[in-house]
């Protein structure tokens, strides 16, 4: 046991200020989450209920096991866009009959559950999570199809939804579709491509073309039920495997299907059976660690001490490359290797140390956890000459080719290539979450504005033009403001650059749920060479 000590002083002014700042950000986050929970608003919710239908989240609650945890993913999808927050789709990881599943549910109260570009990205992200973690996928479908005004962004890439379903099936990952309402035209291929299909009496509507289109195409007179009703598909076409008398019966059928999947997790279980020891230090204090102004450094070990089992952390190479803390711990009994930025900047030593550490984790089949608070790789003559690019590349190489599950949490800054080296979104961590305190961009807003200013000043000097100081100041303020707003978690979450913004106090729980989900797939690190001592 190597129990981390804490230097955090909850009575200190800085702690209190940090905490108040974080609480304010959480309150704002709650309000944004509230928008997603409200779906299409009271009017459409009421209309939906009057039709005797359950809301998307009610369907999910009934589908999952009582008292099990549900980790909702991408709740802020479409934030900051012209589309409603949540993107007319609920997705997450829940437990059905003891099996962890990726669950999606269209929200028909939001424009009929039609797919806009963000709905599509959210659905594809859910499919990806199912694929890489080998989680059965249950789709609760009721969608008007593509959002026609944005068809140019939905139609062509949207084919991936159906491709994913059958590829999941081919990979032995079960797919279940429960059709509660419309699933027509392209949407018909959701049940079409799924392993198991449940339809609801007098509710499901699954056809390529509805009565008007059929009339136009062939002159045939028809109706919804004969073209695509549940009874027809159950008795005649065979598209439906289960004919449910109502929504509850359909959810019951879906649970029975999952219970018969004969599903076992391929990865190892947690190291110790039973409950893993909680951190020695109070998780509530995670609110007071990160300063509102990210310029002030903080020790990520204070976060680790409130996240890992028993605050027990064995640091790897603590004296070498001290700007990045690396070490071993367990979270809810699952072994993890942790990389956490300690002083923002990544130098050659930190890069080499992390490359070595990542190789070790791969040899040992240990998942990696990245706690981001980096301003990027060091710049300057000395560092360029010292091989900063080579060493940074080694780190990015290691991260890219590592095959153990990665989970990234942006707790502070995540700027520049540091975001890449710390397994940013493009490096396909199994999960990526942000704290409300996080910021992510190519560089800090002031730096970016300053760089632009220097470049335009040089350009003016080169062409002999007088430099417009006033215009430059205005430009800098504008750019700073724009970059600042585009670095914030809600904005990035809206664009699906993370899987959600979480309350810091939930970090341990979220990590536990993600590690558990990831262990549905085998945990096998990259092999080939021995570990390079770097």
């Amino acid at each position: 046991m190597t129990i981390l000590a804490t230097r955090l002083d909850p009575s200190s002014e800085s702690y209190q200020a940090n905490r108040l700042d974080m609480l304010a950000k959480l309150e704002a986050l709650d309000a944004e989450h509230g928008k997603a929970l409200d779906g299409g608003g009271p009017k459409y919710v009421e209309r939906h209920r009057k039709r005797g239908k359950l809301l998307a989240r009610e369907r999910i609650e009934l589908l999952i096991d009582p008292d099990s945890a549900f980790l909702e993913l991408s709740p802020l999808a479409a934030w900051g866009t012209e589309y409603p927050v949540g993107a007319a789709l609920v997705s997450g990881i829940g437990v059905v009959e003891g099996v962890e599943c990726v669950i999606t549910a269209s929200d028909p109260t939001v424009r009929g559950g039609a797919s806009n570009p963000w709905t599509l990205r959210k659905a594809l992200r859910a499919n990806e999570i199912a694929r890489v973690n080998r989680l059965p996928l249950v789709n609760l479908v009721e969608s008007a199809g593509a959002d026609l005004p944005s068809q140019k962004e939905v139609f062509i890439p949207g084919g991936a939804v159906f491709r994913d379903l059958t590829r999941l099936s081919a990979a032995g990952i079960p797919t279940v579709a429960v059709v509660f309402g419309n699933s027509t035209a392209g949407g018909a291929y959701i049940p079409g491509m799924s392993d198991h299909v449940v339809m609801v009496k007098e509710r499901s509507k699954v056809f390529l073309g509805g009565p008007p289109l059929v009339k136009m195409a062939t002159g045939e007179e028809s109706d919804d039920e004969s073209l695509g009703g549940a009874e027809m598909h159950a008795r005649v076409s065979g598209l439906a495997d289960y004919f449910a008398v109502d929504e509850l019966d359909a959810i019951r059928a879906a649970r029975r299907i999952v219970s018969r999947l004969n599903w076992t997790k391929s990865g190892p279980g947690p190291l110790a059976s039973g409950s893993a020891p909680a951190p020695e230090h109070d998780e509530d204090e995670l609110l007071g660690i990160v300063p509102g102004d990210l310029k002030a450094p903080f020790d990520p070990r204070e976060v680790i001490a409130r996240t890992v089992d028993g605050s027990d952390f064995d640091e790897f190479k603590p004296l070498y490359g001290p700007s990045l803390a690396t070490g071993w711990a367990t979270v809810h009994g699952y072994p993890v290797g942790i990389l956490a930025n300690a002083r923002g900047v990544l130098f050659s030593e930190e890069s080499q140390k992390s490359a070595q550490f990542i190789q070790l984790a791969n040899q040992r089949d240990i998942p990696l956890l990245f706690l981001h608070n980096t301003t990027g790789y060091m710049v300057g003559r000395e560092y360029e000459q010292g091989g900063m690019i080579k060493h940074g590349s080694a780190m990015i190489n290691a991260v890219s080719n590592s095959r153990v599950p990665h989970i990234s949490v942006l707790i502070g800054a995540s700027y520049g290539a540091g975001h890449y080296g710390m397994c940013g979104r493009a490096f396909e961590p199994r999960f990526l979450f942000a704290w409300p305190s996080a910021k992510c961009a190519v560089m800090g807003p002031q730096q970016l504005a300053g760089v632009l200013s220097i470049v335009s000043r040089q350009s003016a000097a080169a062409s002999g033009r007088p430099f417009d100081e006033e215009g430059d100041a205005a430009m800098r303020a504008l750019v700073e403001q724009q970059i600042e707003s585009e670095s914030l978690p809600a904005f990035l979450s809206g664009r699906l650059y993370d899987d959600g913004v979480i309350d810091p106090r939930d970090t341990r729980t979220v990590l536990g749920l993600c590690l558990s989900a990831a262990h549905n797939a085998p945990i096998e690190g990259a092999r080939g060479y021995g570990v390079f001592r770097m």
Binding site: H33, P66, L248, D249, G333, G500, G512
Partner: protein, 643 residues
Amino acid sequence: MITSLLVANRGEIARRIFRTCRELGIATVAVYSDADAHAPHVREADLAVRLPGKASSETYLRGDLIVRAALDAGADAVHPGYGFLSENAGFAQAVLDAGLAWIGPPPAVIADMGSKTRAKKLMAAAGVPILSAVAPESATSADLPLLIKAASGGGGRGMRIVRDLGAVPEALAGARAEAAASFGSDEVFCEPYVERGRHVELQILADTHGTVWTLGERDCSLQRRHQKVIEEAPAPGLTDETRRALADAASSGAKAIGYVGAGTAEFLLAPDGRFYFLEMNTRLQVEHAVTEFVTGLDLVAWQLRIAEGRALPPEPPTPRGHAIEARLYAEDPARDWRPCTGTVRRFEIPSAPGIRVDSGVEAGTVVGVEYDPMLAKVIAWAETRDEAARLLAHSLAAARIHGLTTNRDLLARALTHPAFLAGEVHTAFLADHAVDLFAASTVSPLAPLAAALAEAASYTGPQPVAVPAGWRNLAAQPQVKRYLDGDGTEHEVRYRLTRDGLRADGLADVHLISSAPDSVVLDERGIRRTFRVATYDDASIHIDAPGMSVALSPVSRFPDTSAKPGPGSLLAPMPGTVARVAAAEGGVVSAGQPLLWLEAMKMEHLVAAPTDGVLAKVHVTAGQQVSVGAILAVVEPKEGPQS
């Protein structure tokens, strides 16, 4: 000297007799029917002999098999307990003829007292006051109300109260049929019925040397269906004069018939203070424990000593304090005392100084239809009657009895009722105070909440154990659980377990202090209570807390889509045997018309047509065993079947 005793009985009385045997160093032999193969009394005996079959007539009433068992097992004495063969002179004689000691009075005395009519004659001759019999044929309205009783009966079977002369023939026929079925003799007699009378009895202990003790009286007035429910010693509110007169009557009666051993003279005490001899029970009574508590005697030990020829000391001990016994039955007082069957899941009555529990069951015991539904007797002793009643009521309320419906709540309510505490006891007590005693207890919303939280605490799944139950990063919907209570009322619990604690809809003042699968601690407006929760394989959940004992069954989130019985189906209300079928398939029946009778727990239950119509189908025949919920018959309503 008795060295090995066979107890020709089962349940709590067998165990109670074994206990004394162990204390005296006497080996024990049990007998058991197939239904009792795993009963506690069998396990506790040194030796046990099987009596093949389930019905009492094949087993505990087979004197020949029991005598054989005693000889085979090397017993040298037989104790009959109460009920079964305890007052069967023929059996007593057979035991003696086999060279075994008989724990009870001489067979001739049993025979004399066995017929109530003959017993009354003998007692009248000894100067004991009796109620004179009324000839039912010549009864006039002046004789009303009348009580019809089985001559060789007991325990309320074959008994009818008649308040209308026109009802006499039917009541006589019914009493005769029941008497014949229960006691093998259809002899009944009729006497004036004393309204609001009290049932007071004297415990007698007589040795073979001519010493007769009376050990004080017991009041056994609190009865249902003519069966005792609460008994106490001494009887409250008697004058010394009445007390003495009762003792004298019992004593002279016992002497007159040459009584030996433990016995009980039962009297009817009228509100005016007069009393009449009812019958003499030539055996140990169920309620003997209250006398043991106040006298400090072990009556079973004395029964054995008397059988061995020991003499009683000249004077009995002086009774001290007050003892009350409550009979815990597996029955539903709210449903006409319907006997309940099932498996006892838990049976815990907190022990306390002054509390004695004589139980025939333990966790795992199956209570079937074969025998009396009495589970246990709980007896409390204290210096005063009020204290004894308080102690007993508290013990009953704090008991954890799971798996069966019992009369526990009724007992606790009766014991705390002001009229009971005022000593106003009589045979109509339970009926008179029905409003207070049978009031449906409303289930506190905390009970289903505790059940839900215990369930949450026991949740295990593929996710890490320490992740909080029902955790959500976006709190959209609460956890919703529904439970049915014993009355069929549904309780819905909606709750969230958040970082800030419990949020239960409609229970804003309730805070969760701690939860575990078997215990939930809740704080409601500053009052902290522990709810002990037990969940069993049949999914039933029992919640016990101070002042609360609730059984719930979870309601599935999804409707049951399995087949349901068609309309007009008559279902067996309890497990039992079809006694007879009175209507033929295809016949026209009218609402209320008896279709068949179900025999269970020694009672016949009528199944009648629910509506006018045609008896479309009879699924059972006489003698067939049915389980609860079995379809007995289908009546199609007149208009034809409903679709």
